[in-house]
């Protein structure tokens, strides 16, 4: 258990709806990340955050919005969901200290109809 929770664990929504996926860490690690995992593509970085109020784009940011008003929370919002955003979404934190190791949450499976 890496102290990372994601909610909801499963979500079904319709095209055009707004959806927010939540990520919460029980510590206060600075870096947090959002990835999506799709068959044939592996894990791809969507957005990351180096600290509260500091966010930056990853490899596949289009259609997503993030915010980080509190260190422990890093929500990911799909402003107008599309079928291509059907995926499994993982949040991760960077363990503080001398390593660059990221630890992952349990994931949210999102289906957009």
């Amino acid at each position: 258990d890496a102290g990372i929770t994601q909610s909801p664990r499963y979500k079904i929504t319709e095209t055009g709806r707004q959806v927010t996926l939540m990520c919460h860490q029980t510590w206060s690690h600075s870096y947090m990340f959002w990835y999506r995992q799709d068959l044939g593509h592996g894990l791809r970085l969507i957005y990351y955050s180096a600290a509260a109020d500091i966010t930056d784009k990853g490899e596949v940011p289009d259609g997503y919005v993030v915010s980080r008003s509190k260190t422990e929370n890093f929500p990911l919002t799909l402003e107008s969901a599309t079928r291509s955003q059907t995926s499994v979404y993982f949040c991760a934190i960077l363990a503080s200290g001398t390593t660059d190791t990221q630890y992952f949450g349990p994931g949210t499976r999102l289906t957009v109809l």
Partner: protein
């Protein structure tokens, strides 16, 4: 652009049959190479971090090695509970972003 390629895509072994998984990478200024294990329906579970060529790390039946171009995950006398997808990732340059390979699905039959 960083690239990570894992092979084979899938590997089926008999219990006790040792083998290796390969991870080839291209990255500017390697910060670290990471191995994760992922079970169905779960998030990736951290196994190892390797930082420089020649480094080796072991955990139970797993041993990870690193050269300047690739990493190997050696599995000695595997058991059915070792069945999972094994992911390789790199971080490079001045940031902590990870680039993942597509993974190797390992199945160990009893």
């Amino acid at each position: 652009e960083d690239q990570v390629t894992q092979s084979p895509e899938a590997l089926r072994l008999q219990e006790g049959e040792s083998s290796s998984l390969n991870c080839s990478y291209t990255v500017s200024g390697l910060r670290g190479l990471f191995w994760y294990r992922q079970d169905p329906g779960k998030g990736p579970e951290f196994l190892f971090t390797l930082y420089s060529a020649g480094e080796e790390k072991e955990k139970e039946r797993l041993k990870a090695t690193l050269t300047k171009k690739e990493s190997f995950l050696h599995i000695t006398a595997p058991k059915p509970e070792d069945s999972a997808t094994y992911l390789c990732a790199t971080s490079g340059g001045s940031n902590y972003k990870l680039t993942f390979g597509k993974g190797t699905l390992l199945t160990v039959n009893p």
